[in-house]
Every structure is written in C-alpha cells, then in structure tokens.
C-alpha cells in the first residue's frame, strides 16, 4: 500500500483546523528525592493509593506510600530521566493495561507496550491491573480438567480449570519446562495462555518465545516480560498485569492459563521497593504484607459460576527454592495459598527421571474432581504402588535376597518409573497417557527390560494410533473405562505384545554381533 501525500496532508490539515485544545487541569507535586526506582514527592495533596502519576519525561509512576508530608511513588520505567524538583502530575486513573485479542501472540512489557518489534498494539479496551477477586457466589467448584500433557502430573497431581497449582523446586530442575509443556499442550484447545516472566534473564525469555513460536503456541499465548534488568517496580506489577489480561478473557466465558515465572523474584522486587520506601521489614526482611501480595494475586484464579459465563483462570505460579528448602518464608506462604504443589527434585533430575517430580510430596487438593474418569480409575493405585516401590527399593539396596513376589513388585516399579519419564516439549494426549499407564500397571511391560520400556511405549502408542484407532477413539469419546473398553484395550495390548516380542528377541543378537 502506498500513501498519497496530498491525502494525508489534507487529513492532517483538517484535523488541525478542527482541533480545539482544552485547558488541562491537574494536580501537581514536586520531586524531593529520586533513586533506585522510587521517588518521594511533595504536594499531590489529593493523590490516591495506587493512582498513576506522570513525570515530565513521560515516565509513569504509581502512588505507593501516602505519608503525612510526602508521597512515595514507584517509577514504572527509566528513573534516570527524573530529577529533583521535577513536576509530577496526578492522572486520576488507576494503573491499567491494554487487554483483548490484539494482545495475543505478542511479547509485551508489564504496561502492555510491545517488545517484539511487531508494531503498535491497538487494543480498544483497558483493565486495571489490581481488581478484587470474584466472591463466593461468583465461583463454582473446579470440575473441568486442564490437561498438562505430562503423564506424571495428569495421573497423580491432576490440575483443574480454575485451580492454582504451585510448581516448586531448585534451580535447573525443569520448572519452566513443565509450564511450557502445559502451554504447548493447549494447542487446538480453547485455552488462552499467558506467560509472565518476572525477573528472568532476557536470554531465557527470548528462548521461551522462540520455543513457543516453533511449536505454534504463540497463536494463543501472550508473553509478559519483566526481565532481571528491568526496574523492580515493573517486576512487581508484572504478575498483576498478566492476571488482568487473563481476566478479560475469563469474563467473556473463555478458559485461560496464567504462568507466573517466578513469584520468588517478584517477592524480592517487592521487598526491594518496600525497604526503599522504609516500610518495616519482617521475616527474611520481607514486608508484612508479602503474604497478601501473593494471596490477592492467586485468589484471582477462579472458575466462574455459570451466571457469570463459566470462564476460568488457572494459575501455575513457580517458586524457586534454595537447596530444597521448602520451609523458607516465601515457599511456605505460596504453598499455603495454592491448591497443591508439584515438587521437583534435583536428585531425581540428575538420576534421569525427567520430569523430576517427587510424586510422594506432590499433591493436588482439588484436581481429583476434575480428572478424566478413565485416568482416575487407573491412576488411583499408582501413587500407592510407587510409594511402596520406593520403600522396597531402599530395602533392596541392602543386598538381601528377595522373595519372588517382592522382586516382581520391584520390577513393576522400575518399569512404572520408566513409563512416567517423558521428554520435554512432547506433551501427550490423555488417551495415550491412559494406554501407557494401563499397560504398565497391568504388567504388560514386565518381561521387557527396563531400558527398553520407553521404546516399547513409543511403539505401543504408534500401534494404537495406526492399527487400533477405534480403541483409542473410543477412549477419547467415552472418557472413562468400563468393562467393554477394558476388554478391548486388553486384547489390543495382547496383540501388540505378540508383535513386539519378536523384535525384542532380535535385540540381544544384534547387540552381540
């Protein structure tokens, strides 16, 4: 398209002719001191808590502290352009972000400004970043599943739409990977995803965006990035901005998933601001309202009642622990707020169990109601079996001779652990998960060496998809296991086993030659 210079000029000329500027009335104050992302101002006698203010350089700020003689402001942008004595203007508005369809597929900062170089975002609507969560009457119990595509999670710590499930673990244990797998698994679904990167390295955020793009997940995802080099105020508001963007879709009856990666960094940013503002420090120097800071954010994750459209917001907050210390202040706070947690362990991670989920202490408090019925049936005993296996495994390491039954239980356990391993960014359909877990729980993999279980599983799923698609389709359609479907499944598995045994026989000869 080519612009015609005359046309543009005449449009602009008309615009200028019609322009009637109005006198702008505003309330002002003066900057007394500024530094480290905060400013203290004199004046602004009618400023409200959380009101937006504007500095002469165009940078925005938010009223944080109202004191007897001055107002504490957090600066949402570059504070190096602000000087002592600058005039600061009240805007009479609360901090808000643009929301709507125009944001999808974009990478934005916590104020909704684009960071991806794909041009300006024209959103017709805005939403305040802080809103009160829906009350008791506006909610309904969590009953619809949100599939993560990860076997270990969907079977043992299932997540429902509207749930808040914490992902917790040390650094480099695969926390973000679980979150990203969940986003990728929403492809072809009806869930809008929002990934909030808070205090992350910019390189990591770029890698996440790249990964989501290659898997086609950016078509339904918004990425909000407040990297480690952004000022603390931006890191502090980023999760609230993400929640606001999700709420917009939720109130239109849609389903949303928000990932806060991670809240421990946000807590640190909030601690920095609070200390600079001279709010009294408490445990670990966090301010007294750090619990409220997280609880009001996570309380906004909700399954709305049918009268309100039945939309939902599922929240997956991430917390990084230090040396597995879950009894530190922020981890205990967030554990107590959320409806369960997925606990990742470095020991498991380095032993090759990936995702490195410790199924013993990972729980989901409400997701069970939302779980797929077929999955519920086969996963019921899985957790107990695995717990028994862990106990036996410790016992077996002593080198004592075991009776046959115990040895069989151990062997089953090893295969179960193998089956629950899953490569990253390869989420599985729930029907495939049911088939895999059903096969291993019913001993179909018992005579296959543990090292070959994953190959067997892969081939089984391919076999089911290609040759027994009616069984798989039936599982998807019914979403439960009745006697007929169990028989169907069993006969299909027998058929697969007959084909597979031949291949395993060739394996040793191939290895020996």
């Amino acid at each position: 398209m080519k612009f015609k210079a005359d046309e543009i000029a005449s449009v602009i000329q008309k615009e200028i002719e019609d322009f009637r500027g109005s006198i702008e009335t505003s309330e002002v104050g003066r900057v007394l001191e500024v530094g480290d992302g905060i400013a203290r101002c004199y004046g602004l006698s009618n400023a409200m808590a959380s009101e937006m203010v504007e500095f002469p350089s165009g940078v925005q700020g938010m009223v944080f502290n109202l004191e007897e003689n001055s107002v504490g402001i957090i600066i949402l942008g570059d504070y190096l352009d602000i000087h002592e004595g600058d005039e600061v203007k009240c805007t009479g508005r609360l901090l808000s972000v643009p929301v709507g369809e125009a944001m999808i597929g974009r990478v934005v900062d916590p104020l909704g400004k684009p960071l991806d170089g794909k041009g300006p975002i024209v959103a017709s609507e805005r939403r305040p970043i802080e809103t009160i969560a829906p009350g008791v009457a506006g909610r309904q119990p969590v009953k619809e599943p949100l599939q993560t595509g990860i076997k270990a999670i969907d079977s043992m710590t299932p997540i429902g739409r509207g749930q808040r499930e914490l992902i917790i673990g040390d650094r480099k244990t695969g926390k973000t990977t679980i979150a990203l797998d969940t986003i990728i698994n929403q492809k072809d679904g009806n869930v809008t995803c929002i990934y909030v990167a808070c205090g992350q390295r910019s390189a990591n955020v770029a890698a996440v965006v790249d990964l989501l793009t290659t898997h086609g997940a950016m078509d339904y995802t918004i990425v909000i990035a407040a990297s480690a080099s952004d000022p603390a105020p931006l890191q502090y508001v980023a999760p609230y901005a993400g929640a606001a963007m999700a709420e917009h879709f939720m109130h239109q009856g849609q389903h949303t998933l928000v990932i806060y990666d991670d809240l421990s960094k946000q807590a640190q940013a909030y601690r920095q601001l609070s200390l600079l503002m001279r709010r009294p420090p408490g445990r670990e120097a966090y301010p007294g309202d750090i619990f409220y800071c997280h609880s009001r954010l996570l309380e906004r994750a909700v399954k709305l009642s049918d009268e309100l459209g039945g939309g939902s917001m599922t929240a997956l907050p991430i917390i990084e622990t230090l040396e597995g210390e879950v009894s530190a202040y922020i981890p205990t706070n967030v554990i107590s707020i959320t409806d369960g947690q997925i606990y990742l362990e470095p020991d498991l991670f380095f032993a090759g169990v990936r995702p490195a989920i410790n199924v013993g202490i990972s729980v989901s408090r409400v997701g069970g109601n939302a779980q797929n019925k077929a999955m519920k049936k086969i996963a019921g005993s899985l957790r107990l079996d695995l717990a028994a296996f862990r106990e036996l495994e410790a016992f077996a390491q002593l080198g004592t001779e075991l009776d046959k039954a115990t040895q069989a239980q151990l062997d089953r356990g090893y295969r179960m652990v193998e089956i629950l391993k899953q490569p990253q960014y390869e989420p599985m359909h729930v029907a495939d998960q049911v088939i895999s877990i059903f096969a291993s729980a019913n001993g179909y993999f018992d005579d296959i060496p543990a090292s070959q279980t994953s190959r067997a599983e892969k081939e089984l799923l391919q076999f089911m998809k290609e040759q027994k698609s009616e069984v798989r389709d039936n599982l998807i359609k019914l979403a439960e296991l009745n006697d007929d479907s169990v028989d169907e499944l069993k006969s299909a598995l027998d058929e697969f086993k007959r084909g597979f045994q031949l291949e395993t026989k060739e394996q040793p000869t191939a290895a020996s030659t």
């Binding site: 615009e15 500027g21 004046g43 602004l44 041009g119 300006p120 024209v122």
Partner: protein, 204 residues
C-alpha cells in the same frame, strides 16, 4: 513554590507555630507583629551573623539562649514577640524562624481571603494583559488572588495558572502535545486497520 531542599516536615512544624503565633497576634494587630518578625530577621539576624550563629547553634545551651534573648531582645521588642522567641528557644525551634515568617504570611493571606496564584507565561505580560488576567481570576475564584508572575519560554504561548497544588494548563506547548497525541492515535488506527485489511483472508 517549594524548593527541593526544603524539608516538608519542617514546614509542617512551622505551620503549627505560625498558626499559634497569628492567633495570639490577632489581639494586637497582625501586620505590626509580622513586621516585627520580618525586621528581626532582616535587621538583626542578617546584620549580625555572629548573633545569629549563637542563637541558632546547637552548642549553646537552651538557658544561655533564653538569657541572651532576655538581655538583647526583651528591652527593645514587644512583649508578645519576645515571648514567642522564648517559646521557640525553649522548644529548640529557633532555626525555623525564616520558615515561620513565610508560613505566617501565607496563613495570614488565606485567613483574610487572599491566596497566591502563580501565573506562568512564555513572555513577560504587559500591564494591560496582567490586569485582564487579574479581573478574570477575581471573577473565577472565591478568594482574592495575589498574582506572582514568572516566565518560561518553553511554554511557547498561552498561560499556566497554578493555585496551591492545582495547575490549569492552557499553554500552547500543552495544546500542541494534545494535538500530537490525537494525530498519533488517529494514524495508528489507520495503519492497523490497513494492515488488518491485508492480513484478513476475506478482506476487501
């Protein structure tokens, strides 16, 4: 206008003292008392820096300061003013004197229905223009405005009027900014809708 180095909390304290001072002074005549306070600052403290240093110094004890006020100020000043100085000395607030004077003036003005109004313009206003502004403001505000004019070439034209913390911005600079915002917004929408037209499979 508040200077950045001024301490808002000191100002708040000065406000309390000024209020009390004016309440007492009402019986005697406020103008005379304020004149005495101003003259004490200008003719006594300004002219005799050593005396000021002793009076404002932390090293000199409270009793010594009181004795000095009795010896130096009491024979010459009015009783009310001397008592006020003694009160300040007793509470160790003598360093607030200049602030108290300016606060007292402002308070006195507001009590008599007057208020300072800052008028900012791009160029110095002519007498006639100033008169016009004065009459318009008289008619608009419920109080008696006292104009303080300032110039700032960056405004380009028009006036910015400030009363307390409220600013009425009618400058050319602000209007140009409004126009710029509007043009930007308009063309943004044009560009976006143009792009949508191309990206839509069923577009025109």
């Amino acid at each position: 206008m508040v200077h950045v180095l001024e301490d808002p909390s000191a100002q708040a304290i000065a406000h309390v003292y000024s209020n009390a001072f004016l309440n007492v002074a009402e019986s005697v005549g406020i103008d005379g008392v304020l004149e005495e306070l101003a003259s004490f600052l200008d003719d006594v403290l300004e002219q005799n820096p050593e005396f000021r240093n002793i009076l404002l110094s932390d090293i000199v004890s409270r009793d010594d300061k009181l004795a000095m006020i009795d010896r130096v100020v009491a024979p010459l000043g009015t009783e009310l003013f001397t008592n006020f100085l003694r009160t300040l000395a007793r509470h160790e607030r003598l360093e607030l004197l200049p602030l108290i004077l300016s606060e007292s003036w402002l308070l006195h003005e507001s009590r008599t229905g007057r208020k300072r109004v800052q008028v900012l313009s791009a160029r110095p206003l002519s007498e006639a223009a100033l008169h016009d502004v004065q009459t318009r403001l008289d008619a608009t505000f419920s109080f008696d405005p006292i104009l303080e004019t300032q110039t700032n070439p960056a405004l380009l034209g028009g006036l910015v009027i400030r009363v307390d913390n409220t600013v009425y911005d009618g400058s050319l600079k602000n209007r140009l900014k409004q126009l710029q915002d509007r043009l930007c917004k308009r063309s943004l929408h044009e560009i976006q809708s143009g792009r949508d037209r191309f990206s839509h499979p069923e577009g025109d």
